[in-house]
């Protein structure tokens, strides 16, 4: 039996706080989205069933409230990664990108051997976790661009204008949902030892 300290306390705290904040951001974002369904139309009766209709004011209230702790949490996380050296576990190199497809094929049981894991995460995890940090930055910037399109008009213009920045903000949200689904499936597949490492920090091999 081998005992491994896998995730530090600060990392775990950021992870679980992020779970709540991201959930609230997506939920309140959907309340806002309902008022002007630019990309996917939610039928009236579906919206009623889901209880998301006519809640724009509330959606905006929550969105522009939680954005502060959400952004702050993300910043703490990234600064921590940078200072602690943990970024080395996440940062994908050329080899990681090469290994993504073999890892995915292995997880889909279409390939018998997976490339060996280097550090904490396999190649697909590295790329996914790194991407999700970039997406967070993307959401922050596109969000700012549509939140204050006059004050940061230069940023809004840089991101292709108000409607396009809004579209990007929406696509990023779908990206988070997609990530979340895969992430949860993988956590369930990996089992308790792995999940425990994100709760108590340690793993036993």
């Amino acid at each position: 039996m081998k005992f491994i300290e896998k995730h530090s306390r600060i990392l775990r705290i950021c992870h679980w706080f992020n779970f709540f904040f991201l959930f609230l951001m997506i939920w309140s974002g959907i309340l806002i989205y309902w008022a002007h369904q630019a990309y996917i139309v939610v039928p009236e009766n579906v919206a009623e069933q889901l209880g998301i209709d006519h809640r724009l004011a509330e959606g905006m209230g929550w969105h522009f409230f939680i954005m502060w702790p959400f952004a702050l949490n993300g910043i703490v996380y990234v600064v921590y990664l940078a200072l602690s050296g943990d970024w080395k576990f996440l940062f994908p190199d050329r080899q990681s990108f090469r290994e993504v497809i073999p890892v995915v094929l292995h997880d889909l049981k279409l390939r018998s051997h997976a490339p060996p894991i280097r550090g904490k995460y396999n190649a697909a995890q590295r790329v996914a976790y790194f991407m999700v940090i970039l997406m967070g930055l993307g959401s922050l910037l596109t969000g700012l661009a549509i939140y204050k399109p006059v004050q940061v008009g230069w940023l809004t213009a840089l991101l292709g204008g108000y409607p396009f920045a809004r579209f990007l903000h929406f696509i990023l949200m779908l990206g988070f949902v997609f990530f979340f689904i895969i992430h949860v499936i993988q956590v369930l597949r990996a089992g308790w030892n792995n999940l425990r490492s994100m709760i108590a920090g340690y793993e036993i091999e």
Binding site: A35, M60, G61, V150, I204
Partner: protein, 242 residues
């Protein structure tokens, strides 16, 4: 043994977090409200307003956009305050400033040099539309009729605007009203205002969400205490600055 203890503590902390999260969420949602918004969210609106008043410049312009085709009908989104009958021939705007009360027929706005802009008009619902608009710049109007000043020569803090039937009303801070692009508009997309776009004269303030751009202005007044605002009373951010 030590590891089990560590796991147990972590699980308890996690449980406290989850319970704390739901309790806080429920409290905010179901607790006291201020003007239709849960009080935490109302305070957050006000905090954001403060943050942005430090970070931002009141003079920053809404980015110029290409002119839409001449006469293109601007999008209509609601008829609040427009449903009562209106006599466009004898239309007057009542302006109250200190002891002064003016009844200004439409021609009086045409005396002021015409300003026009072309920029995004942004609705709080999320859509936006490139719009050209023209009329009397609000700051020019203030100077022309010497309005909005107190006895000591300083400006009032707020401007109130109302439709003639009083069913729609907004209040806006003086700084935003004096912004260069804030216009008492009588034309949109180079055509006279249509009835549903607020004929004969409306406000266009592109540095705020469209909910502040009151259509069919019947009354303009000034105050140091914030006049009522239709949407702010219904849970929306009063400032609504962009």
């Amino acid at each position: 043994m030590r590891l089990n203890k560590r796991l147990l503590i972590s699980l308890i902390v996690g449980l406290v977090l989850v319970v704390g999260f739901f309790t806080t969420f429920n409290y905010i949602q179901k607790g006291p409200k201020i003007d239709g918004a849960p009080s935490a969210l109302r305070h957050s609106f006000m905090w954001n307003e403060k943050v942005w008043s430090i970070l931002s410049s009141a003079r920053r312009m809404s980015v110029k956009k290409p002119k839409p085709p001449k006469g293109k009908a601007p999008r209509v989104n609601g008829m609040l305050g427009l449903e009562s009958p209106v006599d466009l021939k004898n239309y007057v705007v009542t302006v109250e400033s200190g002891n002064k009360e003016l009844k200004l027929p439409l021609g009086m706005f045409h005396l002021i040099s015409k300003s026009s802009y072309s920029t995004d008009f942004r609705c709080i619902e999320g859509w936006s539309e490139e719009t050209h608009y023209a009329g009397a710049r609000f700051s020019d109007f203030m100077k022309y009729y010497d309005l909005g000043k107190k006895a000591d020569g300083t400006y009032y803090q707020y401007v109130g605007l109302e439709t003639p039937d009083g069913k729609y009303y907004v209040s806006i801070d003086m700084e935003s009203m004096m912004h260069e692009q804030t216009v008492l508009a009588y034309e949109m997309n180079e055509a006279p205002l249509s009835l549903e776009n607020g004929a004969p004269i409306r406000l266009i303030i592109p540095i705020k969400y469209g909910i502040k751009s009151l259509k069919r202005i019947g009354r303009i007044f000034f105050s140091d205490s914030r006049p009522p605002d239709y949407w702010a009373e219904r849970g929306y951010d009063w400032y609504s600055g962009l």
